[in-house]
Amino acid sequence: MEVSISLENIGKFIGKYSLGRDGGRGSLHFLRIKIPAGIINSKDLEEIAELSKEYGRGYAEITDRQDIQLHWIDSEKAIEIFEKLYKLGYTTDLCGQGFTTAGYGDVRNIITCPLSGKISKDVAKISIKLTKYFSGNPEFIDLPRKFKIAFTACGYDCVRAYINDLGMIGVDDGFTALVGGSIGSSYPGATIAKHLPVFIPEKDVFEFVKAVVEIHRDYSSRESKNKARFKNLVNSWGIEKLLKEIEKRVGKLERFEKLDLKPKAHIGVGEQNDGKYYFTLPIVGGVLNDEKLRIIASIAKDYGSGEVRLTPEQNVIFVDVDDVDSIRKELEKHFTIYDKESYYLSIACPSDFCGKTKDVHSKDLLKKLLTVDGDLKIGISGCRNACGCHNVFDVGFVGKLVKRGKEIVQVYDMFIGGNSKLAMKYKENLSPDKAVEEFKKLVNNYRNFKASGKSFEEFVRWYCGVET
């Protein structure tokens, strides 16, 4: 016998909204708001600032997938918050990270070139269309595991396409694709995406992306969570078999072999195609608060078109700016505008909230490392899940907790030489102080090495004692 109970107003939120699990700083839940293509206008930014103030102790963070994440969310207030987001037209990630089995995976926010349409072809449009299509779509909310997509067409890999399940790279009047990237520890381990050597005409790109996600849904392993990422399927099938399956769904695709893609982040100031300018504000670790969100919204309105772009490096880019000097002066009243590139290029995961690290947490370690002279790109993850991309940056650190005597202490493993390829592990079990010391040593050595005109890659091989 059964008793039926109406879901009242909760039904409309299922599959579109959820809270994620926190376990640090006294926060039990986070809310990861998807900002489609990382583009947000000042009015919506103010609304999110209000949510952060009312429900998240005023804290807000830009993630490396261009979302805005709030913490300290009281689950008893969830419906109230979802209702407000629903009215604003935003959804959240479905955070099934707690489940121990395969399943309940969703398509995450689609990382998009933050200067899309400003210096290059507009890929934001298709990225937003796809985000809206997948979010809450009952056919795509029980994937074997999450699925990560990236879109760019600026001529560089500014979206870390090489570590996404599917990276769409603009070429000529369409796209080519990278498939099966993912740097977390799940089987078969950190994997750089492979080129799927086909050309996808612009008019077919929506169906192509949909077909690839369907293949993940239908064929990726559901045997265990560890084996359920798309990279495992791509590895076991190989590119030719995957291509055959895609073509079964979307028709024959023209071959496109040549792809020379260099990683590059959009930072600094530059001219847009329309003669206006963009201006990047560095946000260390993406950490903001409600007041700063409001300031950003107001400056975007006063000095640009009111639109801002969140970047995969956790920064903010103001677009459509007429007067670069004035916006810089205004921003300097509220923020530090660093000149050093590493402030713009480095990222760290929220391990302090995640609860997987003890003092010194990822973002705190990043702050310390950024004060060291030098311009290397740093990525810090609190654990092997690699949310801080430690294994694909110039220098990376990954945290672990180890027993020293009677105490459990925080240590970090150090990686060097990533950047669109996997970094090498250089040192293990460094205390946070030792990590800073090793980083200083590396920076000094690199400075001397660089003076002789050699590249960072050559330096890494020399420093790690690897034969060339």
């Binding site: 059964e2 109970i5 909760i10 299922i14 969830a78 479905l94 099934g96 707690g98």
Partner: protein
């Protein structure tokens, strides 16, 4: 959309919310508790819900017992 409560005995009900992530298991339990008297047994495979539901309900004065069964938890709530 509806929730189904299985009657498993006299004044005993079972609510299977497996596959639901936060905050839904907690919200479903609250809806169910509004409707029935007696004992409610909740099945969840979402670890944060297994952490939160006993915490919140005990704070409100319910007697709660939680047990891990294979890959899910069975949370018994006495109303």
């Amino acid at each position: 959309m509806e929730l189904k409560l299985k009657v498993i005995g006299e004044n005993r009900y079972e609510l299977d919310v497996r596959g639901n992530t936060c905050p839904y298991p907690q919200l479903f339990v609250e809806l169910a508790l509004k409707r029935v008297d007696g004992t409610l047994e909740v099945l969840t495979d979402n670890p944060p819900s297994a952490r939160d539901i006993p915490l919140i309900l005990e704070r409100r004065g319910f007697k709660v017992e939680s047990k891990k069964e294979d890959s899910h938890w069975r949370i018994k709530i006495w109303k």
